[in-house]
């Protein structure tokens, strides 16, 4: 039946179109509406803090050493109990990530001995200037709930002598 065949095919096609009219649409109304990211999504970096507000980053520059794109730049200085940024002797006085260079591979997370650098869930990065792509430390640091948690802090002598905390084996 060479005449009927195209008509049946056409009908089948129209039926598919018709059926999808009654289905829930998949389009997300970005930016009003956002889909949650996956648990292991690798977005923009965040420098974490301990609960007391001290920075986890100790300025060891292992992230910079691990970075295949040479996007991270760290300079460190010495802590004192009067002006303490992180536990132990050393903290990052400069911490910069060039977001245009970064390939979001997550090697920095793996290299970090204190779990200070974490690739977060933010992915909306846009710049109007190349220089803006260099995120300094104050942009990368996690926000604090209260101003007394900001660094540097004045701390009790002898309390924060160790840089690398005893950590559980990373689970993931």
């Amino acid at each position: 039946m060479p005449v009927l065949e195209p008509i049946i095919e056409l009908g089948r096609g129209l039926f598919t179109t018709l059926r999808s009219m009654f289905e829930k649409p998949v389009t997300v109304q970005y930016p009003e509406e956002r889909k949650p990211v996956k648990p292991r999504f690798r977005g923009r970096h965040v420098l974490k803090r301990y609960e007391n507000g001290l920075e986890k980053c100790i300025g060891c520059a292992l992230c910079a050493a691990a970075c295949p794109a040479d996007a991270i730049f760290v300079e460190s200085s010495e802590n004192s109990d009067e002006k303490r940024f992180s536990p132990g002797e050393r903290y990052a006085s400069t911490y910069e990530i060039n977001m245009l260079r970064c390939i979001y591979c997550g090697f920095c997370e793996d290299a970090c001995p204190t779990e200070a650098i974490v690739l977060g869930d933010q992915y909306e990065l846009s710049f109007t200037d190349r220089k803006q792509a260099i995120y300094p430390k104050d942009m990368l640091l996690e926000a604090v709930a209260a101003s007394q948690l900001l660094t540097p802090q004045k701390t009790e002598p002898g309390k924060f002598t160790r840089s690398v905390p005893e950590m559980k084996d990373p689970q993931d």
Binding site: G59, C60, A65, E75, E89, R90, T94, E96, S163, V164
Partner: protein, 705 residues
């Protein structure tokens, strides 16, 4: 020639001289026996036990006294216990197994013990990345420790041993390298162990504390991050830094150094006296091996005092005086200004150069002065120093070879402060048996090693040296270090003693110059400036390079009756520079290449470490620009080309090229390879050992043989 002994290490035959330690014998054929406490420059102590190896010796038949032969091979008896490779000398037919199961197990377990008290804070440790403990742990240790983590020994982490050196007691593995360095090499035993067993600490109880001028070397040989310098503390990670070979410019020893450089963050604010923002800066100075000059050591001046090149007040643009004020101008305007002023007064030009300049700079200045018919003077050198160009030590001289049979005379010089590495090496020569004679008006730290100590009034050293004449006449070798003692009489008296020995290796004069390249200036024909005040008044144009006679008080401006036209070439706005009519900004030695001639008459090459600042130019290039303006042909395109011209013009420098200066040969101890635990973090020399002057004599000698 020492007797040779043949043995096998890990199945490989090796033949070394009698008395060699197993660890060194292994090293010569590229087998690295791990060590912590052993250091090739110090007596072995065998206290860390890391180097345990299996040692077998051929069985001897008691009846015949001959080795027992089994199946055609000599029978080897292995000891029941392992032996330390760092304290056991080799013997004929010895068989050493450094990689047997037994040896490897011991190496693994010793590391496990060492790590029981070590904090493993490698991420914040300055040594991390160039740390022998880290490397050997990766290579030999087990990933798991059987010791309880909670029972780790905790100790103070920030103990200043002195102004320059910090101790982290927790990281220390008690190898005593620093203690032994101070005791055996530096001769200032101000470090010691305190307590015993697990609570052993490094202490200093002296007053003032750890103030040795060689203290920085302990951080190099420390096999962990226990000793760090205050200067470099947390400065950079070792793998981030680039290395540039250089020569220390602070004294006439000419120590080979390596500058480690790194680019700083753009955002970085001004810190202290230097601006780092986005620039490549020097982070630290490290020794570079040259067994004929500084071995693997440098003094703390060389290690820490290079900071001046990064001072913020460096001159960056040429300046010309207009209406009594120095104003920034372009190079073209500045050079034209000089041209206009000099063209009319060519003969009355005086070049006053400092011994801080390189051979190339000085040669060009001399060319310019000669071309104009003016005078080339060397500022503030040693009185009578020009005698060293005639009777100075010649090729083949090495203080490291001196021992019994050599007499070393140190006249009117405090080597500890004036040329610290010479102090160190002369002291060691005296300990090897060289006869050390000191003539000085004041006590020096070298006095206690002297065989004869002659005290004299200031200015009378020459007389005393002359009196010594007969006593030193019969010495097999005689080297005389002389310093400033008022007049050239001392130099003449010293020269008198070595005259007959000129040209022989390990004989001759060494001037303890105030600057790095005074020797070079005199070799190139500069005349020491006598009466600066008169020179200043007589000349119509004075071209001052690298010197600050007014700041030093050598010229009193209020007494100057007639001020000449002054051209100053400098790094900073010195007192002299303030008076300049034209002020030209020069490059520091870290920003360019060139060569120095050390007090031991060794020409050594330095390389650029950091990019040049602003519009600065190398001294030789500036001189060439001025010369070109005045119609004199002077090479200024590159330092290497200047050296070619120099070698062609000055007989003492004949045949020296930049290629020759960059040549190296194998040196002992072998350092700077993957196993930096062996000799410490001193750099291997791959950029040149330099060429000694005075080779003509040597050639003649070789020819006569």
């Amino acid at each position: 020639m020492a007797k040779m002994v043949s043995l096998t290490i890990d199945g490989r035959p090796v033949s070394v001289s009698e008395g060699t330690l197993i660890v060194n014998a292994a090293k010569t054929i590229g087998i690295d026996v791990p060590v912590f406490c052993y250091h090739p420059k110090m007596e072995p102590v065998g206290m860390c036990r890391q180097c345990l190896v299996e040692v077998g010796r051929p069985a001897i038949d008691r009846a015949t006294g001959q080795p027992v032969i089994e199946n055609g091979q000599p029978k080897i008896n292995f000891g029941p216990k392992l032996e330390t490779a760092c304290t056991t000398p080799v013997s004929e037919g010895m068989v050493v197994l450094s990689q047997s199961d037994k040896a490897r197990a011991s190496q693994k377990e010793i590391l496990e013990f060492l790590l029981t008290s070590h904090p493993l804070d490698c991420p914040v440790c300055d040594k991390g990345g160039e740390c022998p403990l880290q490397n050997l742990t990766m290579e030999h240790a087990s990933p798991q420790s059987r010791f309880l983590f909670d029972e780790k020994h905790h100790a103070e982490k920030r103990v200043p041993l002195g102004d320059k050196i910090w101790l982290d007691r927790e990281r220390c593995i008690q190898c005593a390298r620093c203690i032994r360095f101070q005791e055996q090499v530096a001769g200032e035993p101000v470090l010691a162990f305190y307590q015993r067993g697990r609570s052993t600490d490094i202490i200093t109880s002296s007053e003032p504390p750890f103030d040795s001028i060689f203290s920085g070397n302990t951080t190099d040989i420390c096999p962990v991050g226990a000793l760090t310098t205050a200067d470099f503390r947390f400065g950079a990670r070792p793998w981030e830094m680039k290395a540039a070979a250089s020569i220390c410019s602070l004294c006439p020893v000419g120590c080979n150094v390596t500058f480690n450089t790194r680019r700083e963050a753009k955002s970085r604010a001004r810190t202290g006296t230097t601006t780092a923002g986005g620039k490549v800066v020097i982070k630290r100075a490290m020794p570079r091996q040259n067994e004929q000059v500084n071995e693997i050591w440098i003094c703390d001046r060389g290690r820490f005092e290079w900071h001046y090149v990064e001072r913020e007040d460096r001159l960056e643009k040429p300046l010309v005086k207009k209406n009594g004020k120095l104003e920034k101008v372009s190079w073209k305007v500045a050079i034209e200004e000089i041209g206009n002023k000099v063209k009319g007064n060519k003969e009355e030009v005086v070049v006053l150069a400092s011994g801080r300049l390189s051979n190339e700079d000085l040669f060009n200045l001399k060319q310019l002065a000669d071309g104009l018919g003016g005078e080339a003077l060397l500022y503030d050198s040693l009185p009578g120093g020009e005698l060293t160009t005639k009777y100075g030590v010649s090729a083949g001289t090495n203080i490291g070879d001196m021992g019994a049979g050599t007499t070393i005379l140190v006249a009117a010089s405090d080597l500890y402060h004036e040329a610290p590495i010479w102090h160190l090496r002369v002291k060691q020569a005296a300990e090897r048996g060289a006869t050390l004679i000191i003539v000085n008006s004041e006590a020096t730290r070298l006095d206690k090693y002297a065989k004869h100590l002659v005290r004299c009034e200031k200015g009378e050293a020459a007389k005393k040296v002359r009196e010594l004449g007969a006593a030193v006449k019969d010495a097999k070798n005689l080297v005389i270090f002389f310093g400033a003692d008022g007049s050239s009489a001392l130099a003449e008296a010293c020269a008198e003693l070595v005259k007959s020995r000129a040209g022989k290796p390990n004989n001759g004069l060494v001037g303890v110059w105030p600057r790095a390249n005074d020797q070079g200036a005199l070799e190139l024909g500069f005349k020491p400036a006598q009466d600066l005040q008169a020179v200043f008044e007589k000349a119509s144009v004075v071209y001052i390079v690298g010197a600050d006679p007014i700041g030093d008080g050598a010229i009193k401006t209020q007494n100057v009756k007639r001020k000449p036209f002054i051209i100053v070439q400098e790094l900073f706005l010195t007192e002299t520079a303030k008076l300049a009519d034209v002020l030209l900004p020069a490059q520091a030695f870290t920003e360019r290449d060139g060569s120095y001639t050390s007090g031991e008459r060794r020409v050594q090459r330095f390389y650029p470490a950091v990019p040049a600042l602003g519009e600065t130019k190398a001294d030789y290039a500036i001189t060439a620009l001025i010369a070109a303006e005045l119609g004199i042909e002077v090479e200024g395109r590159s330092a290497g080309l200047v050296m070619d011209k120099l070698a062609a013009a000055v007989p003492a420098f004949a045949d020296i090229t930049y290629g020759k200066l960059a040549e190296t040969t194998e040196q002992w101890p072998i350092i700077g390879r993957a196993d930096l635990y062996y000799g410490g973090t001193s750099y291997q020399n791959s950029q040149g050992l330099g060429v000694p002057l005075g080779r003509e004599n040597k050639k003649a000698e070789e020819g006569s043989l």
